[in-house]
Subunit: 412 residues, 2 copies
């Protein structure tokens, strides 16, 4: 008998029919002898409907506390309907809001962090043979105020419950059937991975793969919760997110992530002296602009070129800040481009295999793709290239690293 936490997102519970399908799936696990906790999101469209109502009342600055009261009704509707659907097919079930569990968080409305989970009521229900249905995304602070966990919070709820109850597996059901070597819409030969390590999954998530929210992956890694991504609508084993010591020899590369909405900015000829990076990036951070890659070239004649990337939406604002800075910093010129993308190779195999980066650069050069920026970490290499080369870059790298083949074949 295993204890399994399952999470179903908004599209998986988007209609009453789909909720009934989820109930049947849950029933099969229970019939199999498993104890099941189900975490659900709001029915797709519901959260947007609620946000629309709030915008009608106050489109500029609705109270975060009341926003949380409002949007948490979305998951509350789903837990009730799913519990009814389970009863209807003979499965004893009981629903819990975040407050009822209770999932205790800090006081930060709309972006709260989980501090503790009371598992007493859930354990009692499981022991009594019940399926427990929990509202994702929501919690309660020590003063009894309703809080929400921010984007992707239902994944976090599922992982946190799995950690608190020491579940055997946390299954995230979504509209894709697992984690792929890259986005199949860009490279049709993309292959579903049976396994991927937490570190790789973290890099994939932070580099633009939207299968899992990065916070839930971090959380799962921190608390050693085995995580599996599966399809709500198809059968299959999905992708298991594992710890490195699984004994399976790793492929060099697990996947190729990319992110389209990038822009880069360069301030040329700034004095190469201590504190210059802070002087440039301080004002950018003050304007709440998130910086991704940062590259500083070597000094030449006492000046240097300083480059960084931002989200494309922030490009104009960042450029304006830099222009203002040149007067005080003495930079020569601002150079920018908002038609760029980032393509990244991810794989724990890089640690033990040399030459990954040079194979990457060679492949891109052969295709005539100019590399504009490079940034590396222990298990990834990211390059910035012109937007028009995105598909070509992804496909040629997918081919060069044999990602369409079975993993075993590429271990080398």
């Amino acid at each position: 008998m295993a204890l399994i936490v399952q999470k179903y997102g908004g599209t998986s519970v988007g209609t009453v029919e789909k909720i009934k399908t989820v109930a049947e799936k849950v029933k099969r696990f229970q019939a199999n002898g498993d104890q099941v906790i189900v975490v659900v999101s709001a029915m797709s469209g519901e959260t947007n409907r609620l946000l629309g109502l709030a915008a009608e009342v106050d489109e500029t600055s609705p109270s975060p506390r009341e926003m949380d009261v409002l949007v948490t009704t979305g998951e509350q509707v789903t837990i009730a309907l799913l519990s009814m659907a389970l009863h209807k097919i003979g499965v004893d079930a009981r629903s819990y809001t975040g407050s009822q569990v209770r999932i205790l968080t800090d006081h930060s409305h709309m972006k709260a962090r989980i501090k503790r989970i009371d598992d007493e009521r859930i354990r009692k229900d499981l022991d009594a043979g019940r399926v427990v249905v929990v509202a994702g995304f929501q919690g309660v602070d020590t003063d009894g105020n309703i809080t929400t966990l921010g984007r992707g919070g239902s994944d976090t709820t599922a992982v946190a419950l799995a950690a608190a109850l020491k579940a055997d597996e946390c299954q995230i059901y979504t509209d894709v059937d697992g984690v792929y070597t890259t986005d199949p819409r860009v490279e049709p030969k993309a292959r579903k991975l049976d396994r991927i390590t937490f570190e790789e999954m973290l890099e994939m998530a932070s580099l633009g793969s939207k299968v899992l929210q990065i916070r839930s992956v971090e959380f799962a890694g921190k608390y050693n919760v085995p995580l599996r991504v599966l399809s709500s609508f198809e059968e299959g084993e999905g992708t298991l997110i594992t710890f490195e010591d699984t004994g399976v020899e790793q492929a060099k590369i697990s996947g190729i992530a990319f992110s389209r909405d990038e822009a880069k900015l360069t301030i040329k000829g700034v004095p190469d002296e201590p504190g210059v990076a802070y002087k440039i990036l301080g004002p950018i951070a003050d304007a709440n602009i998130e910086v991704d890659m940062i590259v500083q070239n070597i000094s030449k004649d006492g000046t240097t070129d300083f480059t960084f990337t931002v989200h494309r939406n922030d490009y104009e604002r960042a450029a304006a800040i830099l222009t203002e800075l040149t007067s005080t910093l003495g930079g020569e010129e601002i150079d920018g481009d908002d038609k760029i993308v980032k393509v990244s190779l991810v794989g724990v195999g890089m640690r033990s295999h040399a030459g990954i980066a040079s194979t990457m650069f060679e492949t891109l050069a052969r295709e005539g793709i100019n590399i504009r920026l490079i940034s590396t970490s222990e298990i990834k290499v990211s390059v910035v290239v012109d937007e028009k080369y995105l598909e070509l870059a992804v496909r040629s790298l997918h081919e060069a690293f044999n990602l369409a083949q079975d993993e075993v074949a590429t271990v080398g």
Copy 2:
């Protein structure tokens, strides 16, 4: 400085625009120096939408516990939106669900009774100058399960809060501007009452006047909460529901209530012996049919005629039960009529003024209206007449008792 509890029903908060109108009204009271607690229902249509979803999942017997989880989201949406609307116009406000207040109830899902209200958080907010916005209709049991109070529960929430906090007045805002001498759709000369006693209001409610739910009136009477019915959309003082010792001399009659959906059944010639009433009404009650008026004529030759009224929807079922009973009871014949209505005079003045009933009977006789059944209590006289006479009966009685005149003129 007064402490006022205000309750706004579903149509009063049916759109975002109406919610903003409510916020403005609340602001005026606060600006006036009053402390205000606002109780709201779900936006009109929302509860039916939720019930529709539940019916799609399980139309026969959805879990009452989960029904409560589901439908309470309706009021939760309203409290959040109203609090935002108050913030938007500069009024500090804070919302509370029934669980958050907390409004402690028994364990009866979908028809829970309030046992206790924790007023600590509300008092703190009021003292801090905040408007407190509470979700009507909902509570929580000692195990933390969400409960609802059943039909008209938001009125009950308002009255219970007013009682717990010893409010100066509980104001029920609705789509009518007060309690009328009778339904203005039947008698256009119907006059709004400035005051009515609790006992009269109770009789009016139980006799078919739908302005207030009977449970909230009972509750207000029991806990001495001054209750006022007003219009959400128009200005005005509404109708104050008072205790009898207000010093105002009472009119003989306050109003005329009526109920259209009646049916009567008579079982003729049953043996007039102890226990016969129970033998007839026991099986009716077992079938969950509610009986209203009960009349037993005097005995003749050792048998009697036994008559009672039921809701028109239950007529066929009740008739079938009676028919079956005649074989064991030895009744001669079943007689029934589902084209009847009940018309009632209500007024505490009856206690001290004789002749009310005879004036009523005389008036109806003059109009050629045959009385089929009569039932009286200390402050009301009800008659059953043929359906076709309803309007004529109401108007002629309204005229005979001078109800269109100011109260002062009719005292005497």
